[in-house]
Subunit: 438 residues, 4 copies
């Protein structure tokens, strides 16, 4: 049940029940198990309960209300299973396994409010905070790792940095076929109700192998189709969930209102905020210390935006109401010739202005981080992240998966996103404009 410590003759364990994996068990009769349990019980790890795994996705898929905490336990469970499988066949140092388990558990520890949303606004990478949380002696986590072994903070951080001594093991935590993705596809599928992320987890675990001569992970021949299924699951989840128009539009509204609040404060406008909180520093655009970053979670944002609904500033109060009451912007994909785009964007912006809205906050281009997203990237410059499979029965060889799978080959195309977001009130006008162009 939930969390139970059972102590028997010679077995000690902590048990979590999980909607995806059913029973997650951490053996606490081993030193590493004790450490893992200790890490879970730290204030920093408990904070993950207050950060939604999918940020604002619950505005599109209302069931997507699960947290980074739940996901992180799932990732720990999977690394335990994968290592159990691999170590029944290959010799893997116990200490390396322990490092990898901690890295898997803690890989998301540095995340900010609403997962990725704040990174863009505040211009930070959660990985940096993850590394800092692990390395610092100011955190409960850092101290727990250190007391386990003096070089542990550094070694766990090295996995996140991509510098761990065993490449194969670090691939399990960070590559295009890692336990992080394995968990989130299944979990996000279940919670969104969007089914698309289901793949054959058991078969993938069964067919993972270590190429000891070249220190890398590969998938045995009979696992090819399971990995194809996994990559397609990821493709659908991106198309249907992670890049969903409403989700992105919710992020745009939140970004606009934060930008407005920051702007108002810079100009000494009248904006309520809780004094002496990290959120004050964010609004004043001051850099957060690690401690302050780790005090923040989704509730800070919700609490402030709720208050701002009654702000004097019309833009701030309007955007806050839209966000809180889910009256999001409309989003429109620019499926038109490149040379038409410029004039369309100008005309659409004018519609927004003419409607009485400041385009700075109410007319937003969304370009998927300005870099194309690779559903699967088969790029020799990042060999660590590639997925390799064994092919051929008589003379088996290890190859990059898209070389042997037309299904994966078809996923290599970059996925580009170009949208505009604007108040729904203007939808008809802008659609009329759009139809003229297409």
């Amino acid at each position: 049940m939930g969390k139970i410590s059972v102590e028997g003759k010679n077995s000690k364990e902590r048990i979590y029940r999980d909607p995806v994996h059913n029973i997650i068990r951490i053996r606490t009769d081993e030193k590493i198990g004790e450490l893992l349990v200790h890490l879970i019980d730290t204030a920093e790890f408990q904070r993950l309960r207050r950060i939604k795994q999918l940020g604002l996705a619950m505005f599109t898929y209302q069931g997507a209300e699960h947290s980074r905490f739940t996901h992180s336990l799932g990732v720990l469970h999977l690394i335990n299973r994968v290592l159990e499988k691999l170590s029944s066949k290959y010799t893997i140092k116990g200490e390396d396994q322990s490092v990898i388990k901690c890295a898997a558990l803690l890989h998301d520890i540095g995340h900010g409010a609403f997962s990725h949303v704040f990174e863009k606004i505040l211009n930070f990478h959660h990985e940096d905070f993850t590394i800092e949380t692990i390395s610092s002696e100011e955190t409960e986590i850092g101290r727990a790792l250190k007391s386990f072994s003096s070089d542990f903070p550094e070694r766990v951080a090295s996995v996140i940095r991509g510098k761990f001594n065993s490449v194969a093991l670090s691939q399990l935590v960070s590559s295009q076929l890692d336990v992080d993705r394995m968990d989130y596809l299944l979990r996000d599928s279940l919670m969104t109700g969007a089914k698309y992320g289901v793949y054959d987890l058991e078969w993938i675990i069964r067919t993972l192998e270590i190429d000891e001569s070249r220190d890398r992970i590969y998938v045995a021949t009979e696992g090819l189709h399971a990995v194809e299924g996994y990559l397609q699951a990821r493709y659908y989840m991106f198309k249907q969930v992670y890049f969903h128009r409403n989700l992105r539009s919710a992020e745009v509204v939140l970004q606009s209102l934060l930008k407005r609040a920051i702007e108002l404060i810079k100009n000494n406008g009248d904006v309520w905020f809780a004094k002496d909180t990290p959120f004050e520093k964010i609004l004043k655009q001051q850099k957060l210390s690690l401690k302050e970053h780790l005090e923040m979670d989704d509730s800070d944002v919700i609490f402030h935006v709720k208050k701002w609904q009654s702000a004097e500033d019309k833009v701030l109060s309007d955007l806050s109401k839209r966000f809180i009451n889910r009256r999001l912007f409309s989003a429109l994909d620019l499926d038109m010739p490149e040379d038409e785009k410029k004039s369309f964007l100008e005309e659409a912006r004018r519609v927004v202005e003419d409607g009485g809205f400041d385009p700075q906050y109410y007319f937003i281009e969304d370009k998927a981080s300005d870099v194309p997203y690779y559903l699967y990237k088969a790029d020799e410059k990042e060999p660590k992240s590639l997925i390799l499979v064994q092919v051929g029965h008589s003379r088996p060889q290890i190859k990059e998966i898209s070389e042997v799978s037309p299904a994966v080959e078809s996923l290599k195309k970059a996925y580009e996103l170009h949208r505009i977001c604007f108040p729904s009130e203007l939808k008809e006008k802008i659609l009329r404009l759009y139809k003229k162009k297409t």
Copy 2:
């Protein structure tokens, strides 16, 4: 996809995907469908996204992070299905159906933060706020209902009040076999990972019947076992989830710290709070207006308790840290003869005091609301809430279920809970005391 409006030749609908029911579809080509969609889009209904269905259960079953919003959509879906089934066989007025659908959707609209937790502290019944939200012209919901039909607010409220003209229909929304329970058992089971709440929903829907002569719902003969399974599911969910020691202990810690904050403020102590918010009024023990009640949600609590971790008052800061970081109280069931209890309680309280803790906040008796909980209550004083089944093939009769089912008969015993909660640091000492008594 989350929420999509599809408009075709003559079909209009809004679709939600759901982890429990898969596709939830609301037909918007009917007037009632338009109203339901309008109700969902109100600020008051959107607020339910920010209230966890199971309050603090996520401290025990980390996956229980779902909201009243998601549950309420599920309840709407079930009432739609049940009414579709019944109206294929019985004549049910369209307007009555519409009233019942609104009541099902809105049955939880008055809930406060963390579901039931605040009711005890602030001494209110969420049903009263539900009725007020529905009846008031100040709420978007009240206005939407009124504009549908002038007597609609009153009629929908009458269902919540238990005064609706059709008893049979109101039983579908509020009885011991209602769509509320049908949804939450399945949903809470899935999310907690505790599997116990699964029962044969499809078969129950199929076997629900209306006894038109006496205006009541019953279950056809072949549905008996499905209803037994449903009641047993409820039994296990109570035992394993709703009354779980950790969950109750989390509630106790939250209650203690709020009590302390209120006490401090009463005595002009130094307690931070956000000015001009409903939460301020709560702390000052002033009654909330409907509007203020509807501004509150889980985030107000989280935000304040996070701040209080650094309060000057040691008790407040200690309890706040315990709550935020999940260092809950231990809970111990008093499985001992009644006459032993008094002396044990006194001695245990002394251990708490001797440990340096103020028993007012650190030694709490938990008695399941002081009234025994009935897993199934077969009490003729509440005929509306009874579950009836048809028995006998040659001369069918309708009987109260526990008369014909030994399995249900065994659930009629009241479930009584008597526990003490105290800081875990004292666990060993108090256990030693306990063993002496038992």
Copy 3:
């Protein structure tokens, strides 16, 4: 994939995919694994593919088409899991484990056509054939066991006989909480679509313990509810599936037609049968040798009954057509005072006769084997089969489950069945008679 042998550096295994347990893996790098695989590949074990697990249940639940083979693999999987769990905590001799695994795999090896149906007709116990198959040197199984270790056939047989040296281990294979039941409840539930047999398998496995001082299995305190759920699952499966009127009525028709064929042959009537087959001996009421018994399966019955549809004898051809084309008898539960039964039975029999049917074949009383069926039997005379749980936190004790669980207490009542089966053509007449009596 179905059955795959994977050979790697130091791992060898055979894999089966299973609708209930997903991946069933048998490690073949251990001597016992090699033996298990060898046993599965014998002719006798492959025969189980041709015997339906639920006999004629597919006439009621069309999906119940699975075989004893599939079930037996599931049982092996569960004993592997249970022993893995227990041996991480208790010291269990490797050889004893091997014996128990073989016994689990082979527990159904002696079953006749359509599982239990033929036992009644031919008056044999499948357990005797199971023991013989295991012990004989004429069978591939017997030889495989013997070549593993000379006393193995005897030791495996002793488990089936209930005489194995470790009572605790033998309870895992044969008691009221054994891996046989654990598998068939889940499997039959899935296949029938009747959901009722689902219970919390993972939690039961987790909470199984050995009481070493008294050599018996018990369930730890926190497993009580899971076991209650398991017993209730069994209760529903009996009520809804195993004792279903149609299933029993199909058996009655098959018994009647075999009885008729046997009768005709005895009187030198003209009945077709395949010469020199075990089925010939059955029809001539000669005892089958072990070898002959192991040649029989469902197809012998189907093939003959199909042929008999065109038999000259009217009774045989009529009953055969009913069986093949699923035009079964009606069944009626005798829910009436005992003293009414006699006269009702006489009158009903007369209706059958008057309808032109020979009551010997067309009017059958069905009494659930003439002994009441115990859904749960808490009888000290059979201590080996009892389910024990630990109760009490401060002074734990091991008790028989119905002492501590009202839910199980309510299942102790014997379940008695008294029905008559007759041609559906007479249903209305007999119902009219029945109504008069009740």
Copy 4:
């Protein structure tokens, strides 16, 4: 429960419970419902219980023991659901719907033993027998259809023939996106345990549309990904199940032994068979009448092959034992340059001969019916079978799916299979030969 007739005030229905679709309900208060129930109860339809859906796949995936009967009910359920959805939006004549429902239910009625296996051996198409069964007045089915409406047999047969007046409706029963495939992918996935066939059924049903102007089915824009998922599911099921080496090798063994039996009989050899049965005619290579064809099922084959295990002819008895006891041939994919194949085949054949086996029966080339299999075929010559989707929001157009989906484009490549099958005893020798060539 299995099959239950419930009669209430104004509702009558027959219910089946199903492992895939849960409750399958046929309303019998409508004339068409009565007909469907009548068709299910015919001898010809009941025969489908005795024909395995996946032929010999249970030798690879032991759980694949389900029958054509179960599948056919699933197909009926899906056509009911699809027509319910479509007719809420489009005007579809009631009589056309009835025809389509009968065609869906009966689409497999002409199948022979072990599904497709016998078609090759006896050189018939099951579709011809399906049409004949439907059209003939000698069958219960033909008479039931005729008594419903005199042109019904002809109209139902026209759907199977691909000549039905409404192309759109007939596509629902027979195209690359039809209810037959929709059911079997889900069912075969569940039963094999091979998970690969799962796709988003609910979403596909929701997005199916009729292009009334051109009388064809298409999928609305938001259904594209669901259809991609469906086609990929099919791709994996072919690769992992339908073309699995062991399954094909089992078919090869069965074909060889039947060929041998036929050969022996032609030469007046001593082969046992049941006189005056359709199987005798098959062995004597005489054409079966419809009636005879409809008497055959899997049990005829099993029964004879079991007997042949003790045949005097060594080849027949050896092959029969291999089949019954699942000692199948090994299969080897010829992944080698075309010009190497000829010499390899010659040498491998010689190994077989040298091993004392007659290559006619023991060395079989398997070429996937000599025509490449199209996972998805986008061929304008067969417009009726194409899958069409709507694309574009501002100017929607209907396009063939592979034009707009790279994922489907990658499936258009024909799948070619070239294997040899031979006794496993020779595996090492032939593998050694094979390695030399590759």
